[in-house]
């Protein structure tokens, strides 16, 4: 998530319904609403950033990446979009314009850029990737400010705490580090190792924090992924969202579907109204909703295909989900 926290509107996740179905020619892997509220930006397996105008459905292809893009962040004031790809490139684009072209292309990480986030004050961009590093960049010029080494594995996600003093990064093995931005060092670690396993049979790691989000009030952090994996290479495991209490740094709840589902929780958002929403992909796709304080999802909506990410519009009503079947779909949880 990026941009200002969505307004607290009256929503009902059980009313989630499809309101937009944006089509492309290649599967999508990630997407974000822009903070101006006009667009959804999505990264596809054809290396394109695809911008859909929410009202008109107009599709604009942003060419510049040579690999898949799952990392997005925005600078609201400067109206910039940042996209990170799996060749280590970070591209800065204007949000608006008919045919945006890269403002700057930065070799940001060795290996994949896994996630991007902008600080609440809009001055800093954080990135993380397969070089086990977290990096901080100056907005808007994209100058490297700091490298934060410390993870021993691929860093899968970054997020700024809403108060702006701390940055959180999470890796393949479920190590969640809290960085004090003033000091530039790790001040705490949280344990999401439940989202990781070394599969002895296959001799490989499986898991990682696939999505991460703070609650707008900063009291909770949610980390999504897969757990209880019995077969890494077939993806046989269960989706899980680990909810942390920010003050104590301890796990508060383990959020699971009510009805068994096989696959990964690929996206999580924390709604200002207190709901937690997640999507999963594996054996099909599902959108889940949890009420505050409850461990089992109280609502599940079967999706048309494997869902691969999730974002919440600033209006608090719309959810954007990128799918394997070449679509980004928008679901509305607001009043009908």
């Amino acid at each position: 998530m990026s941009g200002p926290p969505p307004a607290a509107v009256k929503v009902d996740p059980t009313s989630a319904r499809l309101v937009r179905d944006f089509k492309h020619t290649s599967p999508f892997v990630g997407c974000r609403f822009d903070p101006t509220g006009q667009f959804v930006y999505a990264g596809a397996q054809d290396n394109a950033v695809v911008r859909f105008q929410l009202d008109s459905g107009k599709k604009t292809i942003l060419n510049g990446h040579k690999s898949w893009i799952r990392a997005f962040a925005f600078a609201l004031k400067e109206k910039l979009v940042f996209s990170g790809d799996q060749a280590g490139k970070l591209i800065i684009w204007p949000i608006e314009g008919d045919a945006p072209s890269p403002i700057a292309t930065i070799a940001s990480h060795k290996g994949w850029v896994r996630a991007l986030a902008t600080s609440p004050d809009g001055k800093t961009l954080a990135s993380c990737g397969n070089d086990n590093l977290v990096k901080l960049w100056a907005v808007p010029e994209g100058k490297l400010l700091h490298e934060l080494p410390g993870h021993a594995n691929h860093v899968y996600n970054v997020a700024f705490h809403p108060e702006g003093k701390f940055l959180v990064s999470a890796d393949l093995k479920g190590v969640v580090k809290v960085w004090d931005l003033a000091k530039g060092e790790t001040v705490r670690e949280m344990d999401a190792k439940i989202l990781y396993k070394y599969d002895q049979g296959f001799g490989a790691d499986i898991g990682g924090v696939r999505s991460m989000a703070f609650s707008p009030d900063g009291a909770h952090l949610a980390c999504a992924g897969i757990t209880e994996v019995t077969n890494a290479f077939a993806g046989i495991g269960k989706p899980l969202i680990v909810l942390f209490d920010w003050v104590s740094g301890k796990q508060k709840l383990l959020l699971r579907p009510k009805v068994n589902f096989q696959g990964t929780a690929w996206g999580v958002v924390m709604h200002p109204a207190g709901y937690i929403l997640g999507v999963g992909g594996g054996n099909g796709g599902v959108l889940w909703a949890w009420k505050p304080g409850e461990a089992l999802a109280y609502h599940a909506l079967t999706l048309p295909n494997n869902a691969r990410d999730l974002d919440l519009h600033t209006d608090g009503r719309w959810l954007a989900i990128p799918f394997f079947d070449n679509a980004v779909r928008i679901y509305d949880i607001g009043p009908k």
């Binding site: 054809d46 290479f233 494997n306």
Partner: protein, 430 residues
């Protein structure tokens, strides 16, 4: 050369002597027509010119698109880029930066179509060069090499399989009609063969004494009853004793620290280093299994991890073999049971795919930098020089100086060493 072979050579009329020939209850073993029955001089020469084979088995089916035949920027290409190699014009996947620097010592076969998407049956094709057929089992490449390239004087098992996990013993089925002597022995997680260590309560001198007693007892018996089988039995203890003396070969901790760094300290690195120790120590055929590549889910994350483990040790192994002067006499093959689907499934996985995939070769008999075969733009079909497991098997044998058109004979039945319907892929041979 074994006593058994000596005995055979000394027999008139080539019959290993009728009694010995008859003594075995299995005709299958008694009458194999060629192999190790060499005269002393020939055996000596064989050792000097010893050819060896190293197979790296990427278990589960490595993706050709993430290794030897990348298709970036296409609908099947996935997120990875290509990189240049030490051979101009030959590009491979960015996940293999160290290997790319060894490409001038390697050849690629990119036009493989084995038409078999089942793990077990694909493994049969790749190990034996033939499709599985009811009622007939063919020996593994390792068993053929153990028999045809090995010397019976060599105490090391002819076909050694270094594996992360195995059954720890002999896999008798591997050698089929060639007999258990040429079956593979698994070294689980790179541990020495079972029972190689003398029991603690038995000291060396007692062991020597009891073996002297055994030999004297056998000699008394053999004065009037010597056969090829009895010779082989006696000889097996000599081999055991020699192997026990060489057990350090199985201990990579004896290597200088710099090699541990060069190969990497994880299991596959250790296993590659052990392979080099064994090859240098005279092993004929070593297979190292790296597990696992069966990436129906998260193909890309898993290939980063698995090829990240593979790349450096493999490149180090080629470099090290070259520096020791062994590469020119060691055929190196990187293979799997099949490749992976160009199509990327909904779980970021690639599934089983045998229609268009690749194998990499290096070393003995191989033309460095050669590339055979081509696939179409997004890798879904072979467009040039399609080959199957039989062609590969011919090529391996030819590369180490064997004639793949020759036959084994079980009883009176000729069994071609390699599938007679296939032939050598000559463009990858030096």
């Amino acid at each position: 050369m074994t006593n058994r072979a000596t005995y055979a050579c000394n027999s008139p009329a080539h019959d290993l002597s009728r009694r010995s020939f008859l003594a075995g209850t299995a005709g299958a073993l008694g009458s194999l027509s060629f192999g190790n029955f060499l005269h002393g001089a020939a055996a000596g020469k064989l050792e000097k010119d010893q050819k060896r084979v190293l197979v790296i088995w990427l278990s589960g089916g490595v993706s050709q698109l993430e290794t030897w035949d990348p298709k970036p920027g296409t609908n099947t290409g996935g997120p990875f880029q290509t990189i240049e190699t030490s051979v101009p014009g030959v590009h491979i996947c960015e996940l293999l930066p160290h290997t790319a620097k060894q490409m001038h010592r390697m050849a690629l076969v990119r036009g493989i179509n084995t038409i078999e998407d089942d793990h077990g049956k694909g493994a049969v094709i790749m190990h034996t060069g033939r499709r599985q057929e009811p009622g007939m089992t063919y020996p593994h490449l390792g068993s053929v090499c153990a028999k045809m390239l090995g010397s019976d004087r060599n105490p090391l098992p002819g076909y050694i399989h270094v594996t992360p996990r195995g059954n720890g013993g002999v896999n008798a089925a591997d050698s089929a009609f060639l007999g258990p002597r040429y079956a593979s022995i698994s070294l689980d997680n790179g541990q020495a063969p079972a029972n190689i260590t003398r029991p603690t309560e038995l000291n060396e001198s007692s062991d020597a004494e009891r073996n002297a007693l055994r030999l004297r007892a056998s000699e008394r018996f053999l004065k009037k009853r010597r056969t090829a089988d009895t010779e082989a039995y006696t000889h097996s203890y000599d081999q055991a004793a020699q192997l026990m003396r060489q057990k350090d070969l199985f201990d990579v901790s004896k290597e200088p620290a710099k090699y541990a760094d060069m190969y990497g300290k994880h299991d596959f690195g250790r296993h590659c280093l052990m392979a080099r120790r064994l090859l240098e120590g005279g092993a004929t055929f070593v297979k190292v299994t790296h597990s696992n590549y069966d990436t129906h889910h998260e193909n890309f994350d898993f290939h980063i991890e698995q090829l990240g483990e593979f790349d450096q040790p493999f490149a180090a192994l080629l470099e090290d073999l070259h520096q020791r002067g062994l590469l020119s006499s060691t055929l190196v093959v990187v293979m799997s049971e099949f490749g992976r689907t160009p199509n990327i499934n909904r779980n970021y996985g690639r599934d089983h795919w045998s229609r268009a995939w690749s194998v990499a070769l290096a070393g003995c008999g191989i033309k460095g930098g050669a590339v055979s075969g081509k696939t179409n733009a997004n890798g879904t079909a072979v467009t040039d020089r399609m080959v199957h497991g039989g062609h590969l098997f011919h090529t391996y044998l030819k590369a180490v100086g064997l004639d793949p058109k020759k036959n084994f004979y079980i009883d009176q039945r000729p069994i071609p060493m390699a599938d007679p319907k296939a032939s050598v892929i000559s463009e990858v041979l030096a």
